[in-house]
Protein backbone atom coordinates (compact mmCIF):
# COMPACT_ATOMS: atom_id res chain seq x y z
CA UNK A 1 0.00 0.00 0.00
CA UNK A 2 1.58 3.22 -1.18
CA UNK A 3 0.70 5.62 1.64
CA UNK A 4 2.63 8.41 -0.01
CA UNK A 5 0.41 8.15 -3.08
CA UNK A 6 -2.75 8.18 -0.97
CA UNK A 7 -1.48 11.24 0.87
CA UNK A 8 -0.68 13.06 -2.35
CA UNK A 9 -4.07 12.23 -3.81
CA UNK A 10 -5.93 13.39 -0.71
CA UNK A 11 -3.88 16.57 -0.47
CA UNK A 12 -4.46 17.32 -4.12
CA UNK A 13 -8.20 16.81 -3.75
CA UNK A 14 -8.39 18.91 -0.58
CA UNK A 15 -6.29 21.79 -1.88
CA UNK A 16 -8.04 21.86 -5.23
CA UNK A 17 -11.41 21.86 -3.52
CA UNK A 18 -10.55 24.60 -1.06
CA UNK A 19 -8.85 26.86 -3.59
CA UNK A 20 -11.49 26.37 -6.23
CA UNK A 21 -14.39 26.94 -3.84
CA UNK A 22 -14.22 30.75 -3.62
CA UNK A 23 -13.13 31.13 -7.25
CA UNK A 24 -15.86 28.81 -8.45
CA UNK A 25 -18.47 30.43 -6.24
CA UNK A 26 -17.65 33.94 -7.42
CA UNK A 27 -17.84 32.76 -11.03
CA UNK A 28 -21.06 30.84 -10.39
CA UNK A 29 -22.61 33.87 -8.72
CA UNK A 30 -21.83 36.04 -11.68
CA UNK A 31 -23.13 33.43 -14.11
CA UNK A 32 -26.34 32.96 -12.14
CA UNK A 33 -27.28 36.58 -11.59
CA UNK A 34 -25.56 38.75 -14.16
CA UNK A 35 -27.48 40.27 -17.04
CA UNK A 36 -24.36 40.69 -19.15
CA UNK A 37 -24.26 39.33 -22.66
CA UNK A 38 -20.88 37.81 -21.92
CA UNK A 39 -22.61 35.28 -19.71
CA UNK A 40 -23.23 32.56 -22.27
CA UNK A 41 -19.69 32.60 -23.72
CA UNK A 42 -18.16 32.53 -20.26
CA UNK A 43 -20.40 29.65 -19.24
CA UNK A 44 -19.29 27.70 -22.29
CA UNK A 45 -15.67 28.43 -21.46
CA UNK A 46 -16.07 27.07 -17.96
CA UNK A 47 -17.56 23.89 -19.42
CA UNK A 48 -14.67 23.48 -21.80
CA UNK A 49 -12.46 21.33 -19.55
CA UNK A 50 -15.36 18.91 -19.34
CA UNK A 51 -15.36 18.10 -23.02
CA UNK A 52 -11.66 18.49 -23.58
CA UNK A 53 -9.84 15.15 -23.60
CA UNK A 54 -7.61 15.05 -20.54
CA UNK A 55 -4.56 14.42 -22.65
CA UNK A 56 -5.19 17.51 -24.74
CA UNK A 57 -5.49 19.60 -21.62
CA UNK A 58 -2.42 17.88 -20.20
CA UNK A 59 -0.47 18.59 -23.35
CA UNK A 60 -1.25 22.31 -23.38
CA UNK A 61 -0.48 22.63 -19.71
CA UNK A 62 2.76 20.72 -20.09
CA UNK A 63 3.86 23.03 -22.85
CA UNK A 64 3.04 26.03 -20.69
CA UNK A 65 4.71 24.62 -17.61
CA UNK A 66 7.85 23.01 -18.87
CA UNK A 67 11.27 24.37 -18.13
CA UNK A 68 13.16 23.16 -21.15
CA UNK A 69 16.62 21.82 -20.82
CA UNK A 70 19.21 23.56 -22.88
CA UNK A 71 16.77 25.80 -24.72
CA UNK A 72 16.75 29.55 -24.83
CA UNK A 73 14.33 31.04 -22.36
CA UNK A 74 11.51 32.51 -24.36
CA UNK A 75 9.51 35.28 -22.92
CA UNK A 76 6.03 34.01 -23.57
CA UNK A 77 3.50 35.55 -21.24
CA UNK A 78 2.98 32.46 -19.15
CA UNK A 79 6.66 32.27 -18.49
CA UNK A 80 6.66 35.84 -17.28
CA UNK A 81 3.91 35.24 -14.76
CA UNK A 82 5.77 32.34 -13.31
CA UNK A 83 3.97 29.30 -14.63
CA UNK A 84 7.19 27.98 -16.00
CA UNK A 85 8.77 25.27 -14.03
CA UNK A 86 5.54 23.85 -12.69
CA UNK A 87 5.83 20.64 -14.67
CA UNK A 88 6.69 17.56 -12.65
CA UNK A 89 5.82 19.32 -9.43
CA UNK A 90 2.89 19.01 -7.06
CA UNK A 91 2.10 22.70 -7.54
CA UNK A 92 1.77 22.02 -11.25
CA UNK A 93 -0.77 19.32 -10.50
CA UNK A 94 -2.72 21.80 -8.39
CA UNK A 95 -2.89 24.31 -11.22
CA UNK A 96 -3.85 21.60 -13.72
CA UNK A 97 -6.46 20.31 -11.29
CA UNK A 98 -7.95 23.77 -10.76
CA UNK A 99 -8.51 24.12 -14.49
CA UNK A 100 -9.75 20.60 -15.07
CA UNK A 101 -12.23 20.79 -12.19
CA UNK A 102 -13.71 24.18 -12.99
CA UNK A 103 -16.92 22.82 -14.51
CA UNK A 104 -17.42 20.34 -11.67
CA UNK A 105 -17.27 23.10 -9.11
CA UNK A 106 -19.07 25.82 -11.02
CA UNK A 107 -22.01 24.00 -12.62
CA UNK A 108 -23.78 22.66 -9.51
CA UNK A 109 -23.35 26.03 -7.86
CA UNK A 110 -24.82 27.90 -10.82
CA UNK A 111 -27.85 25.61 -10.89
CA UNK A 112 -28.33 26.00 -7.18
CA UNK A 113 -27.98 29.76 -7.16
CA UNK A 114 -30.19 30.22 -10.20
CA UNK A 115 -32.97 28.28 -8.54
CA UNK A 116 -33.25 30.89 -5.80
CA UNK A 117 -36.41 32.82 -6.67
CA UNK A 118 -35.62 36.39 -7.61
CA UNK A 119 -38.38 37.54 -5.27
CA UNK A 120 -36.42 36.24 -2.27
CA UNK A 121 -33.39 38.28 -3.21
CA UNK A 122 -35.52 41.34 -3.88
CA UNK A 123 -37.27 40.87 -0.56
CA UNK A 124 -33.90 40.81 1.17
CA UNK A 125 -32.86 44.04 -0.56
CA UNK A 126 -36.07 45.85 0.29
CA UNK A 127 -35.55 44.75 3.88
CA UNK A 128 -32.35 46.72 3.84
CA UNK A 129 -29.86 43.87 3.47
CA UNK A 130 -26.80 44.88 1.48
CA UNK A 131 -25.57 42.63 -1.31
CA UNK A 132 -23.01 41.01 1.01
CA UNK A 133 -25.57 40.50 3.76
CA UNK A 134 -27.98 39.00 1.27
CA UNK A 135 -25.25 36.64 0.14
CA UNK A 136 -24.46 35.56 3.67
CA UNK A 137 -27.97 35.29 5.09
CA UNK A 138 -30.06 34.28 2.10
CA UNK A 139 -28.20 33.15 -1.00
CA UNK A 140 -25.49 31.02 0.55
CA UNK A 141 -27.77 29.00 2.86
CA UNK A 142 -30.24 28.40 0.04
CA UNK A 143 -27.57 27.43 -2.45
CA UNK A 144 -25.73 25.23 0.04
CA UNK A 145 -26.61 21.90 -1.64
CA UNK A 146 -25.00 23.16 -4.83
CA UNK A 147 -21.89 24.22 -2.97
CA UNK A 148 -21.55 20.86 -1.30
CA UNK A 149 -22.15 19.02 -4.55
CA UNK A 150 -19.54 21.12 -6.33
CA UNK A 151 -17.01 20.45 -3.61
CA UNK A 152 -17.69 16.73 -3.51
CA UNK A 153 -17.63 16.31 -7.28
CA UNK A 154 -14.37 18.20 -7.49
CA UNK A 155 -12.80 16.06 -4.82
CA UNK A 156 -13.99 12.84 -6.42
CA UNK A 157 -12.91 13.92 -9.87
CA UNK A 158 -9.47 14.97 -8.68
CA UNK A 159 -8.94 11.65 -6.97
CA UNK A 160 -9.64 9.84 -10.20
CA UNK A 161 -7.77 12.14 -12.55
CA UNK A 162 -5.18 10.26 -14.58
CA UNK A 163 -4.37 11.65 -18.02
CA UNK A 164 -3.67 15.20 -16.99
CA UNK A 165 -1.71 14.16 -13.93
CA UNK A 166 0.47 11.76 -15.89
CA UNK A 167 1.18 14.33 -18.59
CA UNK A 168 1.85 17.28 -16.34
CA UNK A 169 3.33 15.54 -13.34
CA UNK A 170 5.07 12.52 -14.64
CA UNK A 171 5.20 9.67 -12.19
CA UNK A 172 7.44 11.01 -9.47
CA UNK A 173 6.96 9.22 -6.17
CA UNK A 174 6.40 11.56 -3.27
CA UNK A 175 5.72 14.44 -5.60
CA UNK A 176 3.29 13.69 -8.39
CA UNK A 177 2.52 10.00 -8.06
CA UNK A 178 -1.12 10.09 -7.12
CA UNK A 179 -3.15 7.05 -6.18
CA UNK A 180 -4.43 6.46 -9.70
CA UNK A 181 -0.93 6.71 -11.15
CA UNK A 182 0.36 4.41 -8.44
CA UNK A 183 -2.22 1.80 -9.38
CA UNK A 184 -1.05 1.96 -12.97
CA UNK A 185 2.54 1.67 -11.82
CA UNK A 186 1.82 -1.38 -9.66
CA UNK A 187 0.15 -3.12 -12.56
CA UNK A 188 3.21 -2.61 -14.72
CA UNK A 189 5.36 -4.00 -11.93
CA UNK A 190 3.37 -7.24 -12.08
CA UNK A 191 2.00 -6.42 -8.62
CA UNK A 192 -1.72 -6.93 -9.23
CA UNK A 193 -2.39 -7.55 -5.54
CA UNK A 194 -0.99 -4.17 -4.58
CA UNK A 195 -2.86 -2.53 -7.43
CA UNK A 196 -6.12 -4.11 -6.28
CA UNK A 197 -5.60 -2.93 -2.73
CA UNK A 198 -5.16 0.65 -3.77
CA UNK A 199 -8.02 0.46 -6.26
CA UNK A 200 -10.26 -0.64 -3.40
CA UNK A 201 -9.19 2.39 -1.38
CA UNK A 202 -9.96 4.70 -4.30
CA UNK A 203 -13.33 3.06 -4.83
CA UNK A 204 -14.14 3.39 -1.14
CA UNK A 205 -13.36 7.09 -1.12
CA UNK A 206 -15.47 7.68 -4.25
CA UNK A 207 -18.48 5.88 -2.76
CA UNK A 208 -18.10 7.82 0.48
CA UNK A 209 -18.04 11.05 -1.50
CA UNK A 210 -21.20 10.14 -3.37
CA UNK A 211 -22.97 9.20 -0.15
CA UNK A 212 -21.92 12.48 1.40
CA UNK A 213 -23.41 14.47 -1.49
CA UNK A 214 -26.70 12.64 -1.25
CA UNK A 215 -27.06 13.04 2.48
CA UNK A 216 -25.94 16.63 2.72
CA UNK A 217 -27.83 18.05 -0.22
CA UNK A 218 -31.07 16.45 0.79
CA UNK A 219 -30.93 17.75 4.34
CA UNK A 220 -30.31 21.35 3.34
CA UNK A 221 -32.66 21.44 0.39
CA UNK A 222 -34.79 24.37 1.44
CA UNK A 223 -35.91 25.26 -2.02
CA UNK A 224 -37.28 21.81 -2.74
CA UNK A 225 -39.77 22.26 0.04
CA UNK A 226 -43.15 23.91 -0.36
CA UNK A 227 -42.73 27.62 -0.58
CA UNK A 228 -45.73 29.94 -0.10
Amino acid sequence: MDWQAITISLKLAAITGLLLLPIGFALAYWLAFSESRARKPVEILTMLPLILPPTVLGLYLLMAFSNPLGQDRQTAWWRVIGLEGLAFRFEGLVVASLIANLPFMVQPMVRSLASIPQSLRETAWTCGLSRWQTLWKVELPLAWPGVVTGLALTAAHTLGEFGVVLMVGGNLPGETRTLSIAIYDRVQAFDLAGANQMAAVLLGISIATLAAILVLSRKQDWLGQRQA
Binding site: E122, T123, W125, T126, C127, G128, A228
Partner: protein, 370 residues
Protein backbone atom coordinates in the same frame (compact mmCIF):
# COMPACT_ATOMS: atom_id res chain seq x y z
CA UNK B 1 -41.42 54.29 17.48
CA UNK B 2 -43.78 56.27 15.30
CA UNK B 3 -41.82 58.64 13.17
CA UNK B 4 -43.28 61.65 11.51
CA UNK B 5 -44.77 60.14 8.38
CA UNK B 6 -44.22 62.01 5.14
CA UNK B 7 -46.25 61.91 1.95
CA UNK B 8 -44.88 60.28 -1.16
CA UNK B 9 -45.13 62.28 -4.36
CA UNK B 10 -44.93 60.35 -7.58
CA UNK B 11 -44.74 61.51 -11.17
CA UNK B 12 -43.40 58.97 -13.62
CA UNK B 13 -43.15 58.72 -17.37
CA UNK B 14 -41.57 55.58 -18.74
CA UNK B 15 -42.09 54.53 -22.32
CA UNK B 16 -39.61 51.73 -22.78
CA UNK B 17 -39.22 48.16 -21.61
CA UNK B 18 -40.64 46.26 -19.86
CA UNK B 19 -43.95 48.12 -19.89
CA UNK B 20 -45.15 51.61 -20.28
CA UNK B 21 -45.71 53.53 -17.06
CA UNK B 22 -47.31 56.92 -16.79
CA UNK B 23 -48.58 57.84 -13.36
CA UNK B 24 -48.96 60.92 -11.22
CA UNK B 25 -49.96 60.33 -7.64
CA UNK B 26 -49.55 61.41 -4.03
CA UNK B 27 -49.71 58.88 -1.23
CA UNK B 28 -50.62 60.54 2.01
CA UNK B 29 -49.76 59.27 5.49
CA UNK B 30 -52.62 57.42 7.12
CA UNK B 31 -54.22 56.77 3.74
CA UNK B 32 -54.53 53.47 2.01
CA UNK B 33 -54.09 54.05 -1.68
CA UNK B 34 -55.28 51.19 -3.83
CA UNK B 35 -54.11 50.73 -7.39
CA UNK B 36 -56.73 48.89 -9.36
CA UNK B 37 -56.34 47.51 -12.83
CA UNK B 38 -56.30 44.34 -14.91
CA UNK B 39 -53.13 42.27 -15.33
CA UNK B 40 -50.50 43.99 -17.37
CA UNK B 41 -51.81 47.41 -16.45
CA UNK B 42 -48.47 48.47 -15.00
CA UNK B 43 -49.41 48.15 -11.34
CA UNK B 44 -46.46 45.95 -10.56
CA UNK B 45 -44.09 48.26 -12.44
CA UNK B 46 -45.32 51.12 -10.30
CA UNK B 47 -44.71 49.09 -7.19
CA UNK B 48 -41.23 48.11 -8.29
CA UNK B 49 -40.39 51.69 -9.14
CA UNK B 50 -41.49 52.75 -5.67
CA UNK B 51 -39.31 50.26 -3.86
CA UNK B 52 -36.31 50.86 -6.06
CA UNK B 53 -36.21 47.65 -8.09
CA UNK B 54 -37.04 49.44 -11.32
CA UNK B 55 -35.70 52.70 -12.63
CA UNK B 56 -38.10 54.63 -14.89
CA UNK B 57 -36.92 56.81 -17.73
CA UNK B 58 -38.29 60.07 -16.49
CA UNK B 59 -39.97 61.60 -13.52
CA UNK B 60 -39.48 61.62 -9.78
CA UNK B 61 -40.43 59.88 -6.59
CA UNK B 62 -40.14 62.07 -3.55
CA UNK B 63 -40.47 61.15 0.07
CA UNK B 64 -41.20 64.38 1.86
CA UNK B 65 -38.34 66.51 0.62
CA UNK B 66 -36.00 63.61 -0.04
CA UNK B 67 -35.56 62.33 -3.58
CA UNK B 68 -35.85 58.59 -3.90
CA UNK B 69 -35.72 58.91 -7.64
CA UNK B 70 -35.18 61.93 -9.79
CA UNK B 71 -34.35 61.74 -13.44
CA UNK B 72 -33.43 65.41 -13.51
CA UNK B 73 -30.95 65.14 -10.70
CA UNK B 74 -29.81 61.67 -11.69
CA UNK B 75 -30.61 60.10 -8.33
CA UNK B 76 -31.91 56.62 -7.85
CA UNK B 77 -31.73 55.28 -4.33
CA UNK B 78 -31.24 51.56 -3.90
CA UNK B 79 -33.97 49.47 -2.31
CA UNK B 80 -31.81 49.14 0.77
CA UNK B 81 -31.66 52.87 1.29
CA UNK B 82 -35.32 53.74 0.92
CA UNK B 83 -36.84 51.98 3.89
CA UNK B 84 -39.85 50.75 1.96
CA UNK B 85 -41.64 47.74 3.41
CA UNK B 86 -42.90 45.40 0.73
CA UNK B 87 -45.21 42.43 0.93
CA UNK B 88 -44.69 40.65 -2.37
CA UNK B 89 -47.28 38.55 -4.08
CA UNK B 90 -45.64 35.28 -3.07
CA UNK B 91 -44.70 36.68 0.35
CA UNK B 92 -40.92 36.30 -0.05
CA UNK B 93 -40.61 34.18 3.05
CA UNK B 94 -37.13 32.78 3.65
CA UNK B 95 -37.76 29.07 4.03
CA UNK B 96 -34.57 28.40 5.93
CA UNK B 97 -35.37 30.82 8.74
CA UNK B 98 -37.91 30.74 11.54
CA UNK B 99 -40.86 33.09 11.58
CA UNK B 100 -39.13 35.38 14.08
CA UNK B 101 -35.91 35.38 12.07
CA UNK B 102 -37.92 36.31 9.01
CA UNK B 103 -39.56 39.22 10.79
CA UNK B 104 -36.20 40.44 12.06
CA UNK B 105 -34.45 39.91 8.72
CA UNK B 106 -33.41 43.53 8.47
CA UNK B 107 -31.72 43.44 11.84
CA UNK B 108 -34.52 44.64 14.09
CA UNK B 109 -34.14 43.48 17.69
CA UNK B 110 -36.07 40.37 18.67
CA UNK B 111 -38.35 42.24 21.02
CA UNK B 112 -39.76 44.33 18.20
CA UNK B 113 -40.12 41.26 16.01
CA UNK B 114 -42.00 39.40 18.73
CA UNK B 115 -44.21 42.39 19.24
CA UNK B 116 -45.22 42.46 15.61
CA UNK B 117 -45.72 38.71 15.48
CA UNK B 118 -48.06 39.11 18.39
CA UNK B 119 -50.00 41.82 16.62
CA UNK B 120 -50.53 39.57 13.61
CA UNK B 121 -51.51 36.75 15.90
CA UNK B 122 -48.54 34.46 15.35
CA UNK B 123 -46.57 34.73 18.58
CA UNK B 124 -46.94 30.99 19.14
CA UNK B 125 -45.21 30.27 15.84
CA UNK B 126 -42.19 32.46 16.43
CA UNK B 127 -39.65 29.64 16.54
CA UNK B 128 -41.26 27.55 13.84
CA UNK B 129 -39.45 27.16 10.51
CA UNK B 130 -41.22 29.48 8.13
CA UNK B 131 -41.57 26.83 5.47
CA UNK B 132 -43.96 24.86 7.70
CA UNK B 133 -46.44 27.70 8.04
CA UNK B 134 -49.62 27.87 6.02
CA UNK B 135 -50.10 30.39 3.23
CA UNK B 136 -52.11 32.74 5.38
CA UNK B 137 -49.61 32.53 8.21
CA UNK B 138 -46.73 33.24 5.86
CA UNK B 139 -48.70 36.21 4.57
CA UNK B 140 -48.96 37.60 8.07
CA UNK B 141 -45.28 37.01 8.76
CA UNK B 142 -44.51 38.99 5.61
CA UNK B 143 -46.72 41.84 6.81
CA UNK B 144 -45.15 41.78 10.25
CA UNK B 145 -41.70 41.84 8.66
CA UNK B 146 -42.54 44.78 6.43
CA UNK B 147 -43.88 46.73 9.40
CA UNK B 148 -41.16 45.78 11.86
CA UNK B 149 -38.62 47.80 9.91
CA UNK B 150 -40.65 50.99 10.59
CA UNK B 151 -40.96 51.71 6.90
CA UNK B 152 -41.60 55.08 5.29
CA UNK B 153 -44.00 53.41 2.90
CA UNK B 154 -45.80 50.10 2.97
CA UNK B 155 -46.39 48.34 -0.34
CA UNK B 156 -48.70 45.37 -0.76
CA UNK B 157 -48.68 43.48 -4.05
CA UNK B 158 -51.97 41.63 -4.53
CA UNK B 159 -51.69 40.42 -0.98
CA UNK B 160 -55.01 38.66 -0.69
CA UNK B 161 -55.26 36.92 -4.03
CA UNK B 162 -54.15 33.50 -2.81
CA UNK B 163 -55.85 33.62 0.55
CA UNK B 164 -59.19 32.15 1.62
CA UNK B 165 -62.13 34.34 2.65
CA UNK B 166 -61.94 34.01 6.42
CA UNK B 167 -58.22 34.78 6.47
CA UNK B 168 -58.89 37.63 4.11
CA UNK B 169 -61.37 39.20 6.50
CA UNK B 170 -58.99 39.04 9.41
CA UNK B 171 -56.26 40.54 7.24
CA UNK B 172 -58.56 43.41 6.23
CA UNK B 173 -59.06 44.14 9.89
CA UNK B 174 -55.35 44.02 10.48
CA UNK B 175 -54.67 46.49 7.67
CA UNK B 176 -57.38 48.79 8.95
CA UNK B 177 -55.93 48.72 12.44
CA UNK B 178 -52.41 49.43 11.21
CA UNK B 179 -53.67 52.30 9.15
CA UNK B 180 -55.09 53.99 12.17
CA UNK B 181 -52.31 53.34 14.62
CA UNK B 182 -49.19 53.87 12.57
CA UNK B 183 -50.07 56.54 9.98
CA UNK B 184 -47.67 55.00 7.47
CA UNK B 185 -48.48 55.76 3.85
CA UNK B 186 -49.75 52.54 2.30
CA UNK B 187 -50.19 51.48 -1.27
CA UNK B 188 -51.91 48.27 -2.26
CA UNK B 189 -52.07 46.78 -5.71
CA UNK B 190 -54.99 44.61 -6.65
CA UNK B 191 -57.20 43.51 -9.48
CA UNK B 192 -59.98 42.63 -7.04
CA UNK B 193 -62.83 45.07 -7.25
CA UNK B 194 -64.50 44.45 -3.92
CA UNK B 195 -61.25 44.75 -2.04
CA UNK B 196 -60.46 48.03 -3.72
CA UNK B 197 -63.87 49.50 -2.96
CA UNK B 198 -63.78 48.18 0.58
CA UNK B 199 -60.35 49.27 1.65
CA UNK B 200 -59.32 52.27 -0.39
CA UNK B 201 -59.15 55.78 0.89
CA UNK B 202 -57.76 56.76 -2.45
CA UNK B 203 -58.19 54.76 -5.60
CA UNK B 204 -55.99 54.85 -8.66
CA UNK B 205 -57.32 53.15 -11.75
CA UNK B 206 -54.67 51.98 -14.19
CA UNK B 207 -54.83 50.42 -17.59
CA UNK B 208 -52.01 49.65 -20.05
CA UNK B 209 -49.48 51.42 -17.93
CA UNK B 210 -51.34 54.68 -17.58
CA UNK B 211 -53.06 56.10 -14.54
CA UNK B 212 -56.57 56.81 -15.81
CA UNK B 213 -58.32 58.29 -12.83
CA UNK B 214 -57.67 58.77 -9.15
CA UNK B 215 -59.76 59.91 -6.24
CA UNK B 216 -61.94 58.42 -3.57
CA UNK B 217 -63.66 55.24 -4.65
CA UNK B 218 -67.13 56.68 -4.22
CA UNK B 219 -66.66 59.50 -6.67
CA UNK B 220 -64.93 57.28 -9.21
CA UNK B 221 -67.78 54.82 -9.04
CA UNK B 222 -70.31 57.57 -9.50
CA UNK B 223 -68.40 59.54 -12.05
CA UNK B 224 -65.88 57.43 -13.99
CA UNK B 225 -63.87 59.35 -16.51
CA UNK B 226 -64.51 57.06 -19.42
CA UNK B 227 -65.88 53.69 -20.39
CA UNK B 228 -62.59 51.91 -19.60
CA UNK B 229 -62.54 53.21 -16.06
CA UNK B 230 -66.16 52.27 -15.67
CA UNK B 231 -65.33 48.73 -16.73
CA UNK B 232 -62.36 48.39 -14.43
CA UNK B 233 -64.30 49.76 -11.50
CA UNK B 234 -66.97 47.21 -12.20
CA UNK B 235 -69.90 49.32 -13.22
CA UNK B 236 -72.24 46.97 -14.93
CA UNK B 237 -74.94 49.26 -16.20
CA UNK B 238 -73.06 50.98 -18.94
CA UNK B 239 -74.68 51.82 -22.20
CA UNK B 240 -74.09 53.68 -25.38
CA UNK B 241 -76.27 56.64 -26.13
CA UNK B 242 -76.76 59.83 -28.05
CA UNK B 243 -76.50 63.19 -26.32
CA UNK B 244 -78.89 65.82 -27.62
CA UNK B 245 -79.22 69.38 -26.49
CA UNK B 246 -82.66 70.83 -26.03
CA UNK B 247 -84.03 74.31 -26.30
CA UNK B 248 -84.08 74.48 -22.51
CA UNK B 249 -80.99 75.74 -20.81
CA UNK B 250 -79.25 73.17 -18.65
CA UNK B 251 -81.44 70.35 -19.87
CA UNK B 252 -80.45 67.72 -22.38
CA UNK B 253 -81.85 64.52 -23.68
CA UNK B 254 -80.10 61.23 -23.66
CA UNK B 255 -81.18 58.59 -26.11
CA UNK B 256 -80.81 55.16 -24.59
CA UNK B 257 -78.87 53.17 -27.12
CA UNK B 258 -78.06 54.13 -30.68
CA UNK B 259 -81.36 53.23 -32.25
CA UNK B 260 -83.37 56.33 -33.10
CA UNK B 261 -86.60 54.84 -31.80
CA UNK B 262 -85.17 54.22 -28.35
CA UNK B 263 -86.61 56.16 -25.44
CA UNK B 264 -85.03 59.30 -24.21
CA UNK B 265 -84.15 60.34 -20.71
CA UNK B 266 -83.96 63.85 -19.45
CA UNK B 267 -80.65 64.67 -17.88
CA UNK B 268 -78.65 67.70 -16.86
CA UNK B 269 -76.58 69.52 -19.47
CA UNK B 270 -73.33 70.69 -17.93
CA UNK B 271 -72.18 72.27 -21.11
CA UNK B 272 -69.30 69.94 -21.68
CA UNK B 273 -70.58 67.69 -24.40
CA UNK B 274 -71.50 68.80 -27.91
CA UNK B 275 -74.84 68.17 -29.47
CA UNK B 276 -75.52 64.90 -31.27
CA UNK B 277 -72.48 63.37 -29.73
CA UNK B 278 -72.23 59.62 -29.24
CA UNK B 279 -71.53 58.94 -25.59
CA UNK B 280 -71.06 56.20 -23.03
CA UNK B 281 -73.16 56.58 -19.96
CA UNK B 282 -73.79 54.76 -16.73
CA UNK B 283 -76.54 54.21 -14.24
CA UNK B 284 -75.02 53.99 -10.75
CA UNK B 285 -76.64 51.40 -8.49
CA UNK B 286 -77.97 54.15 -6.22
CA UNK B 287 -79.92 55.66 -9.07
CA UNK B 288 -82.30 52.68 -9.29
CA UNK B 289 -85.29 53.00 -6.91
CA UNK B 290 -87.74 50.26 -6.18
CA UNK B 291 -90.02 52.43 -4.02
CA UNK B 292 -90.93 56.07 -3.86
CA UNK B 293 -90.11 57.18 -7.29
CA UNK B 294 -91.83 59.78 -9.42
CA UNK B 295 -93.94 58.41 -12.23
CA UNK B 296 -92.03 60.48 -14.76
CA UNK B 297 -88.96 58.23 -14.64
CA UNK B 298 -90.38 54.76 -14.70
CA UNK B 299 -88.72 51.83 -16.33
CA UNK B 300 -90.43 48.59 -16.97
CA UNK B 301 -88.83 45.29 -17.72
CA UNK B 302 -88.98 41.55 -17.49
CA UNK B 303 -86.72 39.63 -15.16
CA UNK B 304 -84.38 37.59 -17.29
CA UNK B 305 -82.15 35.82 -14.82
CA UNK B 306 -81.79 35.66 -11.08
CA UNK B 307 -78.38 34.78 -9.74
CA UNK B 308 -77.64 34.29 -6.07
CA UNK B 309 -74.25 35.70 -5.07
CA UNK B 310 -73.73 35.16 -1.38
CA UNK B 311 -75.89 37.58 0.51
CA UNK B 312 -77.07 39.52 -2.53
CA UNK B 313 -78.96 38.58 -5.61
CA UNK B 314 -78.14 39.77 -9.08
CA UNK B 315 -81.11 40.33 -11.26
CA UNK B 316 -80.77 40.72 -14.99
CA UNK B 317 -83.70 42.64 -16.33
CA UNK B 318 -84.48 42.81 -19.99
CA UNK B 319 -85.92 46.24 -20.59
CA UNK B 320 -89.13 46.99 -22.38
CA UNK B 321 -89.82 49.53 -25.10
CA UNK B 322 -88.06 47.52 -27.78
CA UNK B 323 -84.80 48.17 -26.05
CA UNK B 324 -82.38 45.42 -26.33
CA UNK B 325 -80.61 46.40 -23.15
CA UNK B 326 -80.08 44.65 -19.89
CA UNK B 327 -80.10 46.26 -16.51
CA UNK B 328 -78.19 44.71 -13.63
CA UNK B 329 -79.98 45.01 -10.34
CA UNK B 330 -78.46 44.01 -7.06
CA UNK B 331 -81.15 43.18 -4.49
CA UNK B 332 -81.34 41.63 -1.09
CA UNK B 333 -83.25 38.34 -0.72
CA UNK B 334 -85.89 40.25 1.33
CA UNK B 335 -86.55 42.60 -1.57
CA UNK B 336 -86.83 39.61 -3.94
CA UNK B 337 -89.52 38.12 -1.66
CA UNK B 338 -91.30 41.42 -1.24
CA UNK B 339 -91.56 41.99 -4.95
CA UNK B 340 -92.27 38.36 -5.62
CA UNK B 341 -89.68 38.19 -8.30
CA UNK B 342 -88.75 35.22 -10.32
CA UNK B 343 -87.53 34.64 -13.85
CA UNK B 344 -90.11 35.92 -16.27
CA UNK B 345 -91.99 38.20 -13.88
CA UNK B 346 -92.50 41.85 -14.73
CA UNK B 347 -90.78 44.51 -12.73
CA UNK B 348 -91.14 48.23 -12.57
CA UNK B 349 -88.72 50.65 -10.97
CA UNK B 350 -87.78 54.29 -10.97
CA UNK B 351 -84.64 55.92 -12.24
CA UNK B 352 -83.08 59.02 -10.71
CA UNK B 353 -81.94 60.71 -13.85
CA UNK B 354 -79.88 63.28 -12.00
CA UNK B 355 -77.43 60.57 -11.11
CA UNK B 356 -76.86 59.45 -14.66
CA UNK B 357 -73.26 60.04 -15.62
CA UNK B 358 -72.23 60.66 -19.20
CA UNK B 359 -68.71 60.09 -20.57
CA UNK B 360 -67.15 60.89 -23.91
CA UNK B 361 -67.83 58.30 -26.59
CA UNK B 362 -64.55 56.60 -27.48
CA UNK B 363 -62.15 55.16 -25.00
CA UNK B 364 -60.10 58.29 -24.87
CA UNK B 365 -57.71 58.49 -21.98
CA UNK B 366 -57.27 62.13 -21.88
CA UNK B 367 -59.17 65.20 -20.94
CA UNK B 368 -61.79 64.96 -18.27
CA UNK B 369 -65.24 65.38 -19.69
CA UNK B 370 -68.09 64.98 -17.27
Amino acid sequence: MIQTAQPIHIDLDHQGAPTRLQVSLTIRPGDLTVVLGPSGSGKTSLLRALCGLFRPDRGFIRHGDQDWFSHERGTHQSPQARGVGVVFQNYGIMPHLTALQNVCLHGAPNVIGLNWLDRVGLSAQAQQPASTLSGGQQQRVAIARALAQSPHLLLLDEPFSAVDQSTRTSLYELIAEIRITSQIPMLMVTHNLEEARLLADQLLVMDEGVGLQQGDPGSITLKPRNARVADIVGIQNRYKGLFMKTSLDGVAELQWGLHADNPRLQIADKGRIRDQREVDWIIPAEAVRLNNYPKSCTIRGRVGQIRQLGETVLCLVDLDYALRQTLHLTLSPREIRQLNLEAGSMIEFGLDCTMIHVMPGNKSMGTAVE
